[in-house]
């Protein structure tokens, strides 16, 4: 039996199973004080050819104020389109759209069945213990519809022994307060965890508004001067509460049971545009969300086979209100939009291995969505009141079979066949093929390649939204190919270097786009053919600079041309052959960690190339978004007392006070500051220096 011997100092390279540190340990200690360890492992047969980026728990637990949108921005090749601080933030892989990114939480899909996308600003990173990105083809093994890829989010047992508690308080600019509490208890069989995050902010950051000028008038109302005003982000306040309860029971004889319940209570104002001239006190624009997500799970493990079953439920109520004061001091509704989504989920997975060379898996997942959307209250012609909206339900089935074969330790091949049913419509078979091979054991140089077909069905809003829903829409169709190399090298106690380079190429037909109509509303159409291709690079370096000094660098770079290849709509159409709007062609991120004893300096940098706002890629004065860099810096000091671990952390975000936009007319905050104080009591533990 040949085994791959991989020497790791801090973290395992991407594509291999990571050793996650015990969650009850102080997280900051985990980042910097992990000693060099020698791990001997087999390349997991379940990961044959899979392009997976695993986000380390140190990254996820970096800062209680971070959402998954922040984490993905700085630690992945995904493009995050943000409409502002604590506002809608969507994520897209490889030049596709946010609805082409499938998101699961503990196995259950959490993409909105109405919109198809996920708002990552509503997912606190502190609630996620295990996050991995499945790029392109690799998502087919997990779920369908991920024409760009999938983001897999999960929680895990805390592995607590007895009772433990962690509390972190954060204070920040613009009246921002963040609180995080986690209580855990565990023994050989039971693991209990309760987590709570509460964030609030008036979020009224100042910015120089270059999109408008304030006038100075004389007595005759002649303009005698004008200037770009310094304004505050109006209508941007938010209050977000998240509660997460987990209960796990492990029989110790191969059966594990789990319960995860996550409640979200969010009240957010919706910031106004830079080009808005309304009196702030005369208008209110807000959104409320109440969401419950719950999953129960059972895993039955045996030496050669295992089965797992999950059941879940999602309940979401969204309310959008746009009101104005008509002059009598009472806010009067202009728009009262309400929606309610209930999703029932069930999934059964099984896998069976024959020796070390063969692995067979089967999976069947079902999601039943019940959606009620109420968008506008009107008075009918007969004088009665009526509501514009829709009430629809849809069942979604997704099943897959796979066979993975590793004839030698250096080569593996895997085939997946998936089939999906949305409502009454089946997809054609969705095949995916993966291969990988070790080119050289020295440096663990590995080559991977995969290809797959994929489909994405229209969302319920695409089909039924009133007005504009188009029940005749076709599903989007895609083919994706990718290939890449990865390596890992290092020397015990000195350094570790790993990296990967991946080329990808995908074609999506019948791309759905919402367009205005002459009747004053938008309506979706199967409009575009898109060819997205490019390269993703990733590298991680960890170096022991000197005694007590450690340096870690993680970097990503993406080149993602995403080209409209459809037929021109008319002879005047200049969009064919051009980059899709709002998709950056280049993006990069770099994170550096420098640790010295109990001090940690963290530097995060990211860059997006300019983004076009027009499909013709014209760059007019009003129609382009320049490239921008973003720099965040934080410094943390940890204190270890006999009775508790304490930590104090200061962070500076947007270090160089950049004026930047992610979306037109949506200002982002300039330099701002955060301070965090954390305490982890040592219940009955001895002081460990």
């Amino acid at each position: 039996m040949k085994r791959l011997r991989v020497l790791l100092l801090l973290l395992l390279p991407a594509g291999l199973a990571a050793r996650e540190p015990a969650p009850q340990e102080d997280w900051s200690r985990r980042i910097h004080a992990i000693p060099g360890v020698q791990v001997v492992g087999s390349r997991p047969i379940g990961e044959v050819g899979v392009q997976r980026t695993r986000l380390d728990s140190a990254v996820l637990k970096e800062n209680i104020a971070l959402s998954m949108a922040d984490v993905l921005t700085f630690h992945s090749s995904i493009f995050v389109k943000s409409y502002g601080r604590a506002t809608l933030s969507t994520a897209a892989f490889r030049g596709t759209s946010p609805s082409h990114t499938q998101v699961t939480w503990n196995g259950m899909k959490i993409n909105s069945p109405m919109l198809g996308m996920t708002d990552f600003s509503m997912i606190p990173s502190y609630f996620i213990d295990d996050a991995s990105l499945l790029h392109g083809t690799s998502s087919v093994g997990e779920t369908g519809g991920g024409l760009g890829g999938a983001v897999k989010l999960a929680t895990r047992p805390a592995e607590a022994r007895g009772f433990a508690l962690q509390y972190v308080q954060g204070f920040g600019s613009f009246g921002t307060f963040d609180e995080f509490l986690r209580m855990t208890w565990g023994d050989d069989h039971w693991q209990l965890s309760t987590r709570a995050v509460y964030s609030s902010s008036s979020n009224d950051y100042p910015y120089r508004n270059r999109d408008k000028k304030e006038n100075v008038y004389d007595d005759e109302m002649n303009i005698v001067g004008s200037y770009y005003p310094v304004e505050r982000n109006r209508s941007g306040a938010f209050k977000d509460l998240h509660l997460l309860q987990e209960v796990y029971y492990n029989t110790g004889r191969g059966d594990r049971f789990g319960l995860n319940a996550w409640y979200v209570d969010s009240d957010r104002e919706l910031p106004v545009l830079t080009t808005d001239y309304a009196d702030r006190t005369a208008f209110e624009n807000s959104q409320r969300e109440r969401t419950f997500r719950g999953v129960v799970s059972w895993d039955h493990l045996r030496r050669d086979w295992k089965v797992a079953a999950r059941a879940g439920y999602i309940h979401t109520r969204m309310a959008y209100d746009y009101e104005r004061d008509p002059g009598n001091g009472t806010m009067t509704p202009m728009t009262r939009s309400r929606s309610r989504v209930d999703t029932f989920y069930g999934q059964v997975d099984g896998q069976y291995s024959i020796g070390r060379r063969w692995l067979f898996t089967a999976s069947l997942a079902a999601h039943q969505h019940l959606v009620e959307s109420r968008d506008r209250n009107i008075i009918r012609q007969d004088g009665d009141q009526a509501v514009v909206g829709y009430d629809q339900r849809r069942v979604e089935l997704s099943g897959s079979l796979s066979a993975k074969w590793r004839p030698t330790d250096r080569f593996g091949v895997s085939a997946v066949l998936r089939e999906e049913l949305f409502g009454t419509e089946w997809t054609p078979p969705i095949p995916a093929l993966f291969v990988d091979g070790v080119l050289s054991e020295r440096g663990d140089l590995t080559v991977k390649a995969s290809l797959s077909r994929n489909f994405r069905f229209p969302t319920l809003n695409d089909l039924y939204f009133l007005p504009g829903g188009n029940p005749d829409l076709k599903k989007e169709r895609g083919w994706t190919y990718d290939a890449g190399l990865s390596f890992a090298a290092g020397r015990a106690g000195s350094y570790r270097l790993s990296g990967s380079a991946t080329w990808f190429d995908s074609h999506v037909d019948d791309w759905i786009v919402w367009l205005p109509t002459t009747k004053g509303f938008f309506s979706p159409r199967n409009l575009k053919r898109v060819h997205a291709y490019g390269v993703e690079l990733q590298a991680d370096l960890d170096v022991a600079l000197a005694q007590a000094w450690r340096l870690g660098l993680d970097g990503t770079y993406s080149w993602t041309p995403s080209i409209n290849c459809g037929e021109p709509m008319t002879e005047d159409d200049r969009s064919v052959g051009k980059q899709l709007p709002y998709v950056p062609e280049h993006s990069a991120a770099l994170t550096g960690r420098l640790a010295w004893r109990t001090w940690t300096l963290l530097y995060k940098w990211c860059w997006y190339s300019r983004r076009y706002t027009m499909s013709s890629n014209d760059t007019t004065l009003t129609g382009h978004l320049p490239a921008y860099f973003m720099n965040n810096l934080s410094l943390e000091k940890r204190f270890a007392f006999r009775w508790a671990d304490l930590s104090v952390k200061g962070a500076v975000n947007n270090l160089f006070d950049e004026e930047y936009l992610s979306v037109l007319s949506r200002p982002m905050p300039g330099i701002h500051f955060e301070l965090f104080v954390g305490i982890t009591p040592r219940w009955g533990k001895r002081h460990q220096p």
């Binding site: 000028k213 303009i223 009262r336 514009v388 000094w549 008319t570 027009m614 320049p626 860099f629």
Partner: protein, 354 residues
């Protein structure tokens, strides 16, 4: 010491990577506009604040885009809806920016603005110091003082709430002003401009989208019929001729159910109607049936706006293409011959003659 140097080097490298990025906001330009020409209002994309103003000189066939931004150094706003000329001043209604800008027609420089409007659609001048502004999402028509750029009062509109409120285009005939009520509405309102009150209303069909008055002082309105599944109703669109004296529908021409007529305009003589319904259509006001053949056939185009040169009779049609790039304006002679075409801004939707 060696370690410290390494760290210093790494820090400097990081600062270099961080480098400062600053926006190029450009500067203002000076313009001398020709005596006559066509303003094109480009709506832009809703919620993106990228509306723009273009100006086309029919004599030289020269077009200037992004005029407002270039002349004033800031953006026009979100969803440019309409423009009205009064004397030497152009009044640009920017719907989702809650503002109306007044610009000098020679220099395109701003001379004032009316702010804090609900969702303005059109402005109509009764005199130099009084104008009406229609609204969406509001059951009131705003009465404004254009000299002082301020809101003076409101006209309450019956049969609608803030949520279902919609008043659109205005046509004045002597003392009375007529307004079509469009979104989830079916009426034409008659307003006494001396008392600023609604004095009468006429039901014409679901969602009257355009309103004009011809050379014979007859009102014409075009209804779009709503949409399938609408709780307000769905019917065949229609073209109605209304006698303002009796305030009654004199003649009704019905379109095919499912068609989407919009943007009806008159020629300069006021005796020929033009509108968009996938193709471009025209009809004599004296005709007794809808035309069987279009004036200009669409060919994959998404026509969004239309105007007729009141002097030459040329027809200008805006094609939004995919609504995400600079749209094209096509200029046709009254014979239907294509004379010129030019790129304007994103979603060209409204026109105004200087």
């Amino acid at each position: 010491m060696k370690t410290a140097r390494r760290i210093l080097f790494a820090t400097l490298a990081a600062l270099l990577l961080g480098g400062c990025m600053k926006w190029d906001y450009g500067s203002t330009e000076t313009f001398e506009a020709p005596a006559r020409g066509l303003f094109v209002l480009n709506e832009g994309n809703f919620q993106y604040g990228n509306a723009t103003l273009s100006f086309y000189d029919p004599e030289t066939r020269r077009v200037e885009n992004e005029l407002f931004r270039r002349a004033n150094g800031f953006r026009l706003g979100d969803v440019a809806q309409s423009m009205t000329v009064r004397g030497d001043v152009g009044w640009i209604v920017v719907n989702n920016s809650h503002v109306i800008f007044a610009i000098d027609l020679a220099t395109f420089r701003e001379v004032g603005r009316i702010t804090n409007l609900t969702s303005p659609r059109y402005i109509h001048f009764l005199s130099d110091d009084k104008a009406y502004v229609t609204q969406l999402w509001d059951n009131r028509i705003f009465v404004v003082d254009p000299r002082r750029y301020r809101i003076m009062g409101y006209i309450e509109c019956p049969g609608m709430t803030m949520e279902s409120g919609s008043t659109e285009q205005m046509v004045q005939d002597g003392r009375y002003l007529y307004v079509n009520c469009w979104s989830y509405q079916n009426r034409i309102l008659k307003i006494d401009t001396e008392t600023d009150r609604v004095v009468d209303e006429l039901t014409v069909g679901i969602q009257p989208v355009s309103l004009v008055m011809d050379c014979n002082r007859k009102l014409w309105t075009l209804t779009d019929g709503g949409y399938e599944g609408s709780p307000y109703g769905y019917e065949a669109p229609s073209l109605c001729r209304i006698d303002p004296e009796t305030f009654a529908v004199e003649r009704r021409f019905e379109f095919r159910l499912g068609s989407s007529p919009s943007a009806m305009r008159l020629n300069g003589a006021g005796d020929r109607l033009y509108w968009i319904d996938d193709d471009i259509w025209c009809m004599e006001t004296a005709a007794d049936r809808l035309p069987g053949q279009p004036f200009v056939r669409g060919d994959g185009t998404l026509y969004y706006g239309l105007t007729v040169d009141p002097e030459r009779g040329d027809v200008y049609v805006a094609d939004a293409i995919d609504y995400q790039q600079q749209g094209v304006v096509r200029r046709y002679a009254s014979s239907g011959e294509l004379l010129d075409r030019f790129y304007a801004g994103v979603t060209p939707g409204a026109f105004c003659w200087k």
